[in-house]
Point group: C2
Chain length 305, copies 2
């Protein structure tokens, strides 16, 4: 069977103490078959965001090892930070990357959630595609009131955790675990200083005002550059691919005689999200990602662990 690869971006409530950050990240570096793509600690948010990829097995082992470090070193009762959070290991989302589908990632999130609770005692909420209650698809519903508010609210039926509870872990709070698609951050910068143009285009393409179903977006001014930006999140790049969203932005911008200055792909992106647009623009018939040397090499090298 072809090697399954998933992406996982766990968020920990520690962005200030370098020693603790290093200790949390260490198991990810040390576990064969688990690969650290990137990690960023933010002091204001007092939060650590780690981008991982790997096989499901090693990834879960490494997550549990890192969780034990976080439990030992983080006390939520003393935690302060600008970013909403309910636990020391705040959120763990699994995203399908290669040779695994969303249903399998949801099953993985559920199995991992139970194991996570057994080994740590931390109660677990399931969110996004792995949500067991419709309202818990949204992270903000689960995190309402944050750690401080949830300490009491957790005892009510509507806030009861999906696994464990009905009280929070004394120092580590609760953890949100789930499965979601890869989110592509894509900005389109326009050659105008008229912010209304960016706002109108964002409204035309985003789901919340009736545009593409899997696009979020806002209009922003890039004052120092003399441009405006349509700042977009593509939450399902298969259904709403980059080229289609960009060409729609371009088409709308023509109404005001405005051209696209440039675009930005922010952060990590899966190859498929780009190659899909390559095939569109180059009009490639029957293109197979297995034709890309590096992708086939990754397949052959397999898990590397």
């Amino acid at each position: 069977m072809a090697t399954q690869l998933i992406e996982c971006v766990p968020n920990f409530s520690e962005g200030r103490r370098p020693g603790v950050i290093a200790a949390i990240v260490e198991p990810f570096h040390k576990t064969p078959g688990c690969f650290v793509l990137d990690y960023r600690a933010d002091e204001d948010h007092n939060r650590l965001v780690v981008s991982l990829a790997g096989r499901p097995g090693p990834l879960q082992d490494a997550l549990l090892a890192a969780a034990q470090v976080a439990i030992a070193r983080i006390d939520m009762a003393a935690h302060r930070g600008a970013h909403p959070r309910i636990g020391a290991i705040d959120v763990i989302p699994f995203t399908p990357l290669r040779n695994i589908d969303m249903a399998a990632c949801v099953a993985l999130a559920h199995a991992f959630g139970r194991r996570f609770h057994e080994e740590t005692g931390i109660p677990v909420y399931f969110y996004e595609e792995a949500a067991l209650r419709p309202e818990r698809k949204k992270l903000e519903v689960i995190r309402k009131g944050q750690y401080e508010g949830l300490r009491e609210a957790v005892k009510t039926p509507e806030r009861r955790p999906d696994v464990g509870g009905p009280v929070l872990h004394p120092s580590a709070g609760a953890t949100v675990i789930g499965a979601r698609r890869f989110l592509v951050a894509f900005n389109v910068n326009l050659k105008t200083t008229d912010l209304q143009v960016a706002k109108r285009i964002a409204a035309a393409v985003r789901a919340s005002s009736g545009g593409f179903c899997h696009v979020k977006g806002i209009g922003l001014a890039l004052a120092d550059r003399g441009l405006v930006q349509v700042s977009l999140n593509l939450v399902d790049h298969e259904k709403n691919p980059l080229y289609r969203v960009l060409e729609t932005v371009r088409m709308e911008a023509r109404r005001w005689g405005v051209a696209v200055a440039e675009t930005e792909v922010y952060g990590m992106v899966p190859a498929a999200a780009l190659l899909d647009s390559t095939a569109y623009y180059l009009q490639v018939a029957g293109f197979d990602p297995a034709q890309v040397i590096e992708l086939q090499l990754l397949e052959k090298i397999g898990d590397g662990g």
Copy 2:
């Protein structure tokens, strides 16, 4: 240091005996750090073409092991086939893939050529970027007269091998070793049955008639599909990228009111050749291939061996 990856497509003079083909390919499968992307045996050509990728060290070891099998099992005096050839191990080209440049691949070809001769006794010619004589850049110059003709011609100063000689190996002939860029096979199918349109466009874009310096091309009829094809080889996709060649074909086709029906990328292609065009069409500013999850994963996994 980042893992160096090269591509290598050795050609062997055996396309008919499955047992011999399997024995030649076996060392490539078995050597850790050497990966078989593809291999194709052609009975008419009586030739085996293997697509490999890997680190320079393991790749060279596997090539020598496969060469020993080819020497033991192939007798050039008895070989018949439609494809030009001068040896049992006919051609070995090295192509830079990741974290290695052409100069390093040329040095590698030269070092490997000397080791190859020492361990096999087969004389070696260097071609393409590794050529030591300008005329030997071209494979057809080295292969002139093929195995049968070269047996005598090899004794003349102008045909003397670069390493070894002045006689051929008694059963394995000679081997051509070199370094070259990745060749992208790219076809543009046009919505017309007028072959002249394809021929004129091929002439407009190819180097031999004054077009792009690193493009080869011909016009062909796809009679059963009611289309014509501009069949192109991009021998330097960095200097003459896919999007530029395609948009030039499109622009020329407009002269006859002809549209592009579709394109075909044939065989393997390096990610950079596609991502370069993605960045053009999507107007992505400052795009870094390290943002592509799979490419970074390949980097992290490293040699896998």
